[in-house]
């Protein structure tokens, strides 16, 4: 086992013996399930109405009517739920003083940070794949284009990874888990609002910069089914930046 694998294994073990992950998973899946149910109910209502007006069989675009709004709301839920997943990563180590064990072991800070990040990514990927049941179930009753859905899931994964990386950094700043959760929630919210501000400022240089820094524009484009390298680059660079920030925060802890 490499050091990173050791950290990942230990983190996953800690995640699944604590009730937090199960509570988060239950809440997330319940809300997403409910939203999906409403979206389906809404779509079938619309289809019925169209049939009454046109008196023919109406073919609705489920990607537009169902999946895109669903992906959009999932993003909002993730903003609240993912900070709860990352809050313990470093804060708990600092609180319990196990940080001293890690930092006096022959193992690099980069390995610690990577291991922690990968473990939380795996938990998130598991959580996300469970929501895959929604399109799979629907495909038995309706026909729709799978490609925007793949892309939507890719967007969700990248979006979530960015939020997790932010949470990773926030957790390295404090030994209080609650503060860590609020910090990462604050960072994510701030990033989100920058997008809104960018739209208000409009199509100027500043507006474009603001929109680029925020994830809203990139996420919207991806869930609409547009694959753009620029957006993928945005997410990857954002994750790398937050990883680096977390690394610095962990390193700085020793110098205090």
């Amino acid at each position: 086992m490499t050091p990173v694998q050791t950290i990942v294994a230990k983190e996953l073990r800690s995640f699944f013996v604590s009730p937090v992950v199960y509570v988060i998973a239950a809440i997330f899946l319940a809300i997403v399930g409910l939203l999906a149910y409403w979206a389906v109910a809404n779509a079938s209502n619309q289809a019925l109405r169209l049939m009454q007006i046109q008196n023919t069989y109406a073919q609705l675009n489920l990607n537009d009517m169902l999946f895109r709004p669903l992906f959009r709301s999932m993003n909002l839920i993730l903003m609240i739920i993912l900070p709860l997943l990352t809050m313990r990563l470093f804060a708990e180590e600092r609180k319990l003083r196990t940080f001293e064990l890690l930092l006096t072991s022959p193992i690099g800070v980069n390995e610690i940070v990577s291991g922690k990040f990968m473990s939380v990514l795996m938990v998130y990927a598991g959580l996300l794949s469970l929501t895959g049941l929604i399109p799979i179930t629907l495909s038995a009753y309706a026909t729709f284009d799978w490609r925007p859905i793949y892309l939507g899931y890719m967007a969700l994964f990248l979006q979530g990874s960015l939020m997790l990386a932010i949470g990773l950094f926030a957790s390295a700043l404090t030994e209080n888990q609650i503060i860590a959760a609020f910090l990462s929630f604050g960072f994510i919210l701030g990033l989100w609002m920058l997008g809104a501000l960018g739209t208000v400022v409009g199509d100027t240089t500043i507006g474009q910069i603001l929109s680029y820094v925020s994830f809203t524009e990139h996420y919207e484009r991806m869930i609409r089914g547009l694959l753009n390298l620029k957006d993928i680059f945005y997410y990857l660079s954002g994750i790398a930046f937050m990883w680096f920030a977390a690394h610095q925060a962990v390193d700085a802890y020793r110098w205090k």
Binding site: R13, L96, T98, L101, T104, S105, P106, I107, R254, K256
Partner: protein
């Protein structure tokens, strides 16, 4: 084995360690003795490479702590003040994790683990979750963690705090048995503990080394002024004067009640016999006569007053 030269550590404006130098030979057991806040933990954290010194150099097994931290970390077993335990893991899972991050060879791990579990008396609880263990067992798991990868240097920050007397003796015996094959530094604020297990004592006070000595010599130095406390039944104004005239008495001061007297006597002069005779002859009723145990504060008072306040000889 361990060589510390002119180490200073500042936190902002506060100087936690002020120009500390000492060296420790292979196989020695050395105690850091000092009250809380003296700088023991800071020194240990610097030795383990957890935190860098503001100034000065630390070398462990001829490796510099700042230049080659990995070589140093591989050779150190460290038990911090609070044992670094993951409460949700079982003892076995925890030790497996520690073995892996300490880069112990996977084939050696089960064997080392069985050995350490037996050595630290954890066999009964190896499958239990650490969070459910008592303070004494947790301390032992912490110690097991430090010993697991068989490091030549052991740094133990207050290894016996929070243990009951039997456990303290067990842990002390365990540490004594490790001497010779390991170089051990431990910190304590108990004078008795330092003298019981260590070959050398480094006394540290307000971030400075006050004395470095063997327990025997240190004891001799401290005995320069022994104090006795005397309690009689009836207070006698002339007794105070009479006490002064016993040969060997340096000073007599009244104690907490009118019937008690605190006597400071010269080193090596046991005046208890003469004192008893005197009190009995005056017929005031001898209730209690005891040598006062040296507290750490007394030690500092003595050591900072006498020679060699600045560092090792």
């Amino acid at each position: 084995m361990i060589d510390v030269q002119h180490v200073t550590k500042r936190y902002g404006n506060m100087t936690a360690l002020d120009d500390i130098s000492f060296s420790i030979n292979k196989g020695e057991i050395v105690a850091f003795l000092g009250p809380n806040g003296a700088g023991k933990t800071t020194t240990m954290r610097i030795l383990t490479g957890f935190m860098p010194p503001t100034m000065g150099t630390v070398r462990i097994a001829d490796f510099d702590c700042l230049e080659t931290p990995w070589e140093v970390k591989k050779r150190i077993g460290y038990l911090p003040e609070t044992p670094p335990l993951y409460l949700e893991l079982t003892v076995k899972e925890y030790l497996t994790f520690v073995g892996r991050i300490k880069r112990l060879h996977p084939e050696q791990l089960p064997e080392r683990m069985d050995m350490i579990i037996a050595q630290t008396g954890l066999a009964d609880v190896r499958g239990r979750v650490i969070g459910h263990l008592s303070r004494g067992y947790r301390q032992r798991v912490g110690l097991a963690q430090a010993l697991l990868h068989n490091p030549p240097v052991l740094i133990l920050d207050e290894p016996t705090t929070g243990l009951d007397p039997n456990q303290i003796i067990e842990i002390r015996d365990l540490i004594k048995n490790l001497a010779g094959s390991h170089t051990i530094i431990l910190s304590t604020h108990m004078l008795a503990e330092a003298t019981a297990i260590c070959q050398r004592v480094i006394i540290i006070h307000r971030g400075r080394i006050v004395a470095v000595d063997t327990p025997e010599q240190l004891g001799a130095k401290l005995r320069e002024s022994e104090t006795l406390s005397l309690t009689v039944k009836e207070s006698d104004p002339q007794l105070l004067d009479a006490l002064h005239h016993i040969p060997g008495v340096i000073r007599v001061s009244p104690g907490s009640t009118p019937q008690t007297y605190v006597l400071e006597t010269q080193m090596g002069r046991d005046i208890r016999e003469e004192l008893t005779k005197l009190v009995v002859s005056r017929n005031v009723g001898l209730l209690e006569l005891k040598t006062q145990p040296l507290t750490l504060e007394d030690v500092f008072k003595v050591l900072t007053k006498t020679d060699n306040p600045s560092g090792p000889p």
